[in-house]
């Protein structure tokens, strides 16, 4: 889908493309709800420390942290090869060769998953809201970046916040 967008936008100006890419995600409100939890504490440092530990447990490397504004950024790399995708691509190459042309087999090789986490005091003054947003960039077998997407699976966020709550000894409330 994104790749298609990229191909279609070949003749657009940078400003046009920025207007498309810069648009908020379609389901921004649902996404915010999915990515946010409230905790009964005013100490955002406790939550950030717990979040750093949770992310490390999950294999992430912390790449940026700013306690003053409650921000934590982490990433991890993971293989993204699926045998089905590889087989289909090789099949396509053989099919193209039989017709006398060449198809360069392309599949996902690696993915970098990134998470941005921000802890914000809630205006009621008794809680802290944590928002974690995951996205990933896929690199293909030719070593090129070719796909990027926000991760929207509710289970992923559910699991992350469960682990975070357990690590901080606090309960995570949905907003």
């Amino acid at each position: 889908m994104l790749l298609a967008l990229g191909l279609l936008s070949a003749c657009q100006t940078a400003n046009d493309r920025a207007m498309i890419i810069g648009k908020p995600p379609e389901n921004a409100l649902a996404l915010r709800t999915m990515q946010s939890r409230r905790f009964d504490t005013t100490d955002d440092k406790v939550l950030l420390t717990a979040a750093a530990q949770t992310l490390q447990d999950l294999g992430f490397t912390i790449s940026e942290s700013a306690g003053d504004v409650g921000v934590l950024v982490a990433s991890k790399q993971r293989g993204a090869e699926e045998s089905g995708q590889v087989a289909a691509q090789i099949g396509l190459m053989i099919f193209a060769a039989a017709l006398g042309s060449y198809h360069s087999p392309t599949w996902d090789r690696e993915q970098t998953i990134r998470v941005t986490l921000a802890a914000v005091p809630v205006s009621s003054g008794k809680q802290t809201e944590v928002r974690a947003s995951f996205d990933r960039v896929l690199t293909n077998n030719h070593g090129n970046q070719w796909r990027a997407e926000l991760l929207m699976e509710p289970e992923l966020y559910q699991e992350f916040f469960q682990k975070l709550a357990a690590s901080a000894f606090l309960e995570a409330h949905k907003i």
């Binding site: 994104l2 920025a18 890419i21 810069g22 995600p25 700013a66 990134r114």
Partner: protein
């Protein structure tokens, strides 16, 4: 015999050139800056808010970027800068700085990545609709146009090309 060898060498040469044409260099990406004047760019990229709370403003910038689907890349609260990337193709850098005695200003700058090229975004609509309007909502304050009279802006940060693309 001689002719065949020559023909083969020539074919190889042509092939090499043809193949090279499809290559894009990831290492050296060219930066295309806006042709608009600095004054014009500032009017497009900067807004002032009636608050002196810089930390709160920076937090609001972070929340807005997150809402818009950006991932934070770098943040430096003491200087008031934040850099974020959306879908590996759009980088937004924002600076939060005091403006006069009663205001805080936010200056944003966006770069769009293409194959081997980075282009500065200078569409006023982009900054207004896809950054300052949501930021203004997050701040519960209106984003005011800056006229440049009271600005004590730090030197505009040069486009950071040393940072590895995500």
């Amino acid at each position: 015999m001689m002719n065949a060898t020559f023909a083969r060498a020539a074919l190889l040469g042509v092939l090499a050139v043809t193949l090279a044409a499809c290559q894009t260099s990831n290492k050296t990406s060219n930066l295309v800056l806006s042709t608009k004047s600095p004054v014009e760019l500032r009017a497009i990229q900067a807004r002032a808010f009636d608050t002196t709370d810089r930390t709160r403003t920076l937090r609001a910038v972070v929340a807005t970027l997150q809402d818009l689907g950006y991932g934070i890349e770098k943040i430096e609260p003491s200087v008031g800068t934040v850099s974020a990337v959306k879908l590996a193709s759009l980088r937004m850098t924002a600076t939060v700085y005091p403006r006069g005695q009663t205001q805080t200003a936010v200056r944003a700058n966006a770069l769009l990545f293409g194959p081997g090229i980075e282009t500065q975004v200078d569409d006023p609509l982009f900054y207004q609709q896809l950054f300052f309007e949501p930021l203004s909502k997050a701040m519960f304050l209106s984003a005011l146009q800056v006229d440049g009279s009271e600005d004590k802006e730090p030197a505009p940060a040069p486009a950071d090309t040393s940072v590895k693309k995500p």
